[in-house]
């Protein structure tokens, strides 16, 4: 079990990226750089979509975010929550639950970003 600087259990893991990269550390760094650029944008887009009650955008952004999470291992922590946001967006229902799940997803993603910087 890995821990971050604050003694909390790490939410990220680079095992998958390192395996894919076959020792190419430039590729790993490039993927982390892209994640650190895209993930905050996705969180902002999702917050805006929720604020606007735009279920189509909620579904689309949650789906896009879901694709990115495995690259830095965060899927193990919040994949089910992001999938549920996508499902609720698809069904156009339960905004309070979407907001509740989003709070958790946002907190974990921000921890992930801090670990990767």
């Amino acid at each position: 079990m890995a821990f971050n600087g604050n003694g909390l259990e790490k939410v990220t893991s680079l095992d998958y990226l390192k395996e894919l990269s076959k020792g190419n550390s430039g590729f790993v760094q490039e993927m982390i750089r892209i994640f650190l650029t895209e993930n905050p944008k996705e969180l902002t887009e999702l917050a805006t979509a929720i604020h606007n009650k735009d279920f189509t955008a909620i579904r689309q952004v949650a789906h896009r975010m879901q694709s990115s999470l495995p690259f830095v291992g965060v899927n193990k922590v919040i994949e089910q929550d992001v999938m549920e946001i996508e499902r609720l967006g698809e069904n156009r229902c339960d905004l309070p639950q979407i907001l509740h799940l989003f709070s958790k997803v946002k907190a974990v993603c921000e921890r992930a970003q801090a670990e990767l910087r």
């Binding site: 998958y16 894919l20 490039e30 994640f35 789906h63 896009r64 694709s67 990115s68």
Partner: protein, 147 residues
Amino acid sequence: MNREGNILLDGKLLPPEISDRICILVVEDNILNQKLTGFILNDWGVKHKICSNGKLALDALQLEHFDLILMDIQMPEMNGTDTTEFIRQNLKLNIPIIAMTAHALPGERERCMKSGMTEYLTKPINEEELHQIIVKYLISPAHQGAE
């Protein structure tokens, strides 16, 4: 690139005349997935083009020849199933189209196959599974010399 820039088939290097004639169209809007797929195909020495939505893919298909399409499902502008239906019904192309998606919503797989897709890969792409797809559709004897 691996040793010769060729695809390994059953542990054997393929002659460049085979890997050189393959060109794959990757239709994907997620930048990390674009990078990963490009990284793997580059490693195998396989030529490819990346389009970030279905409309751009249709433009590319009308200008260039491709041997196989890796198609994301949910994309802005034009999604994967609509793009596939257009390719089959309007462009009349029989090219293998492999769906790529993260955990699918219920019924998504059926919608993919109904739209005319050939097979289904789960994202993030597994290198071994992608390799098997390329061998199956582009390199196996049944497809040698096929358009």
